[in-house]
Subunit: 142 residues, 2 copies
Amino acid sequence: MLIGEYRHSIDTKNRVSLPAKFRKEMGKKVYITRGLDNCLSIYTEKSWKVILGKLENLSISKASERGFNRFMLSGATEVDVDGSGRILVPEYLKDFANVEKKVVWTGAGDRAEMWAEEVWDTYLTAKQEDPEAMAENLEGLI
Amino acid sequence: MLIGEYRHSIDTKNRVSLPAKFRKEMGKKVYITRGLDNCLSIYTEKSWKVILGKLENLSISKASERGFNRFMLSGATEVDVDGSGRILVPEYLKDFANVEKKVVWTGAGDRAEMWAEEVWDTYLTAKQEDPEAMAENLEGLI
DNA sequence: CTTTCAAACCACTTTATGCCACTTTTATCC
DNA sequence: GGATAAAAGTGGCATAAAGTGGTTTGAAAG
């Protein structure tokens, strides 16, 4: 289970460290693709297979589902984790997520997400400033 | 059952002691996440699993539920209790709860809460001065 | 044959973690 | 009630691990 928030830097060669707490679960090979809300989604090999299975069930005749399928698959890359626990982020995904230097890793259960720092801070602030919506969800929870 | 109020300090390395009376129930591994009203919620391994089960029912396609899922999972951290009965509070959770030096632990049944001292005192004072309204408001929140 | 890019390797800096020691509080026993 | 012992709380240090930058090597493309 991937949880937590970790702040890292991307170096000049587009390498970024996986949070140490993610390494064991992520193994030596991960799949990175476009995520919702301008983040990048990073899947473990196992959870990637699950996603692929779900995508196969989407209808090719429905424009929206076809689009989502393309969104996920066209952006996806298999990347290896290097000896220092880093991955290489393709340029086009960096651009997609507006990543410059500082990134935020967030655990999202079966996958991790990677955000440009400013994008994440903005997103989170917006969520926190809408306590009603938060509370609605919490109601069933606690 | 976690009950009571205890005041502790966070040291320069973001470590804080669990109240001695909480230790037995909390074991050696706990989960911290963002709570309501700017406190932090600390779950035992057992009660955390209950929370996870409820989160699984949220839909990923709805923006508000997706956001809530992120809020909970990204905010959560698994932390080990050290040999002196302390846990390490991640910087971002310290920031979230406005914790500086003094914190207040409160028992809340299946979970504990941790507050910045000033936040707790303010909250408690308000509650004592207007218990009726507070109760009404809380009803909608929790 | 040259150039480019990525992967592996290496080295340095910073941060986290475990351990120990001191102080304060709480409990116990006479 | 006071003395003593035990536990809790806190701080500091030493070691290990994580994070990051650079250099070299190797492979692929032009």
